[in-house]
Amino acid sequence: MLTKKILIFLPVLIFVILLQSFFWAPTYDEQVRGNPHRLEEFITASSGDAKILNPVLNADSASSTIVGQVFDGMIDRDEELKFRGRLATGWDIYEEAYFYINPEATIDGKRMAGPEEIKELILARRGKGIIRDSSLQDALSNIKNIEIIHAQTSERDIQLPGPDQNGDGLPDAVTVRVRLAPPPRLKITLKSVDQDFFKYLEGILGKGYFETFPSDRYAEILTKGQEDKLSVTAREVLPAIEHNPVILFRLREGVRFHDGHEFDAGDVRFTYQSIMDTRNLSPRIPDYEPVKRLEVMDKHTVRIVYKRLYSPAFGTWGMGILPEHLLNAEALRKEAEAKGSDPDTFTMRDSDFNRRPVGTGPFVFREWKSDQYIALDRNEDYWEGPPNYRRYTYRIVPDLLTQEMEFYGGAIDDYGVQPHQVARLKNDPRYQHFSSLSFGYSYIGYNMRRELFRDKRVRKALGMAIDTDKIIKYVMYDQAERITGPFVKQTDYYDKSIKPLPYDPEGALNLLHEAGWKKNSDGMLEKDGKIFAFTLITNNGNPIRKNILTIAQDAWKKIGIDVKTDLVEWAVFIGKYVNTGKFDALVLGWSMGIDPDLYQIWHSSQTNENQLNFAGFVNKEADDLIIKIRQEYDFDKQVAYSHKLHRIIADEQPYTFLFVRKATAILDKKIVIREYSESGEEIIRRISPTKTGNYTYYFNKWIKLATSPEFDTE
């Protein structure tokens, strides 16, 4: 019967056709099936698309990942997190220190010592070694050169804060015209930056030499009605002393942008100018604001002079360098005309460059399909040699479950794995995994403006009542480590000898008793008739913080503290509670840079509304150290200061420092490092994270093999 045969045969045929395709499609174990190029392509996934592929303008993590592959910075960090040259082959950091001759001061009983005499005096002291104090001797032998500068009388406009006229609650700027007739000035070039140099100099010139400099005598305000601002203005435009740190970069020669144009010092200058051009609205402006001027010395030398001591500035040169020839005023004008836009309002932000960038980095931009993928090809001409991978693909997969499934299927090599997935996949023989500490930490912060939290014993007791180890184990699935202070844990700035607070509810109660809190008949802590009660808040939408909130509430309730908790939507949380300082305690996290500058989060000047020291931490000694750290250019001294500061903060416990997350990556085991020995022999070795846990450090040497390699167990 034909009908019957058809009815049976047709579905069978369809299913055979459909299912046989299974044997053609690549699987995780056979990713090369029909597609040998798969081994030369690295596919990573992200849930969000990039926004703007320009190192000067981008501010989101997807964009910076791509920008990092397409552009090179002047420097980056090596395995040990020390600076390493990229587009720069080397650098010198030194200082130009300035001070005005103070006519008021008496030196060795002589009044009115002129510049010549002072120069002679300093040189004489240096030369003879007659000073017993060896640190002063060191400071003086650091002097390379002394120059006398005679200034001309000049006039200029400066901006001063004036009364608030536009009603935003902030002082408005007033422009004031001043005439300056400064005295001669000494410019002392130092071999290395020395933030204490003037202190030592005072040892020669006499105490108060700089402080008593009468700057207002050399300035005159020309704007009518603003004469009362003289002393403020004069101190600003004629500072008695000035530290000008200088960075001299020597640039790599023969590096070419992806379009073949040669990279030189002009590109560095252009990148800096693009950031400072306010029309570009660059988010990097604060990083480069301390730059006084950037000079191109020759084609491969750049000299950057800073207005003041600010050591974090060096690290900012890791930013990618833009090609001047594609983005300068002329290029932008041409692009605007081609597009029919107004050339006067057309800025770098409007340029198509941001969607097809050209840099000097290891990968060349090929294609960006919005919400689908960004594809890069390797730069065959890369100055460090081309990467092993031919292609780098950044897939946009918004759904986390889909990411996981695509990873199992071998269509993604690397994805943002969640802590609970790590616990599951860690022991799977098909994958390799890397755990490394991230650059940030979670904490419970106390509002130290509140009477309740003013006593450090109370803050300490609150911390001791919480079993952080259990939080790490059960909330974080062991994907976190304890942290005791505000520095990045894997850097030298972090003092590893400081012990975390023990979990000790008994001890906590004792501390609270010492601080005057006694248990009442209900078992609640009470002092002066008031029950120990406060509200702990965090933002909505973060399950980990929500769990910590509950655990802390429970732990504190156990020792007799009445804690209310509240989850607040992020914008409200930041706008209404954090920025205004209207909270008792909160659960939050900081993500940190490697640099040990803690000014914004811990300095006492940053406790106002909308500033980051919302915990209200004020400590004189800590303030001094924070300033010293950001002004210090010597690594060992910075480390010493940081350790001291770490100890103070750990002792004060303005936060209960909880943990730093481990960033765990799960990777296809077939991905290895491939190198060539000098004789051209291929060496395959396992991907190993650097000391600081960065497994992607050797990314350019990665390659995928067709089958899982066997390594000797080490």
């Binding site: 019967m1 009908t3 019957k4 009815l7 049976i8 047709l10 579905p11 369809i14 056709i17 459909l18 299912l19 046989q20 395709s21 299974f22 053609w24 499609a25 690549p26 699987t27 995780y28 174990d29 099936r33 029909g34 597609n35 190029h37 798969r38 392509e41 596919i43 919005s370 993928y373 693909t393 897939r395 997969v397 759904d399 479950l401 889909t402 499934m405 695509e406 199992y408 299927g409 071998g410 269509a411 993604i412």
Partner: protein, 319 residues
């Protein structure tokens, strides 16, 4: 028959006109505005908003907007508000993606439902009949997204193979044979999932129809003549049971759009259903209305085809 065709055609045209008005009003009068002119976006100044409104014709009276919209649609000038791409181009690309999924899904549904339904009817009350009934009800009552996740999880973890998307990512440089096969593989699971509900439903219909037919007198007569079992069931029975399904065939056309929203979203399949869903979220009116219009056209074409088919297979209808 000719006059019927002409009459029916003009009736459908009139219906389409009313649909176009109603769907336009529903979309434009619904609360909320396109995200581009969301007044809550702090980055926009009042001038920006006015500019966007003017660009999207939102500042004109409704009937003018209606006219402009359909004029642009038919001249092919309509552009998506989201990315300024021509709507027809986008729809065409997505339509082709959906079409393949739809064809395979329909093939599976129809090819599987008939054998299953027929054997269930013939062996009524047997274990096979009861188990297919059970499975059919299970399939009808459990939502397809649930099956989708279970099936994805199972297949991916067991075979370590990619099933999401239209092809395995990174296959663009593979040889054509492998690319085609890879694409077919990626259609297997979504089309089976899309077909499951249909199989459950359609096989029930087939069973019911078959049962009704095999109790007819002419079947008994055929059996009495001494014809073989197969001859009776498939020639005399099946042919007559087939009648109502001819009309159903025309009605599956609109499923091309509506039936695939969930499956396409789960499998990240760049098809029509998903595009419509995303357009609704982004309030991309041109896309929503265009898809709506196409769906309406498909429904009308579907009913038109089933009318015609009915006339062909059942001469009694021809009036």
């Amino acid at each position: 028959m000719f006059s019927f065709t002409i009459r029916s055609f003009f009736q459908k045209l009139a219906t389409l006109f009313f649909i176009s008005i109603v769907s336009f009003l529903v979309v434009y009068l619904a609360p909320g505005e396109p995200s581009q002119i969301d007044p809550l976006n702090p980055k926009f100044t009042a001038e920006d908003l006015a500019r966007f409104r003017a660009e999207f014709n939102l500042d004109k009276p409704l009937h003018v907007q209606y006219y402009l919209f359909y004029k642009n649609l038919f001249t092919g000038e309509l552009k998506s508000w989201k990315d300024n791409q021509p709507v027809l181009g986008k729809v065409k690309e997505r339509f082709m993606n959906s079409l393949w999924l739809f064809i395979i899904g329909t093939l599976i549904t129809w090819c599987l439902s008939f054998p299953v339904g027929i054997s269930a009817a013939i062996k009524r009350g047997s274990f096979f009949d009861r188990s297919t009934t059970f499975v059919a009800y299970v399939l009808i009552s459990i939502p397809s997204f649930f099956f989708a996740y279970i099936l994805i999880d199972f297949v991916v973890k067991t075979f370590s193979i990619s099933v999401i998307g239209m092809q395995t990512f990174g296959m663009q440089s593979a040889s054509p044979v492998y690319q085609v096969m890879d694409r077919i593989w990626h259609m297997v699971i979504p089309s089976i999932l899309g077909a499951l509900g249909g199989i459950a439903l359609l096989s029930r219909y087939v069973r019911a129809q078959m049962l009704e037919v095999i109790h007819q007198d002419y079947i008994r007569t055929a059996k009495a003549k001494g014809l073989s079992e197969d001859m009776v069931n498939y020639k005399h029975g099946f042919r007559n049971a087939l009648l109502p399904f001819v009309t159903m065939f025309g009605l599956i056309l609109p499923g091309l759009i509506g039936g695939s929203v969930i499956i396409e979203s789960i499998f990240a399949w760049p098809g029509m259903g998903r595009m419509g869903f995303e357009a609704i979220l982004a309030r991309d009116y041109p896309i929503i209305l265009t898809i709506n219009f196409i769906a309406a056209v498909l429904v009308l074409i579907g009913t038109f085809i089933s009318d015609l088919l009915y006339m062909v297979v059942d001469p009694r209808i021809r009036l």
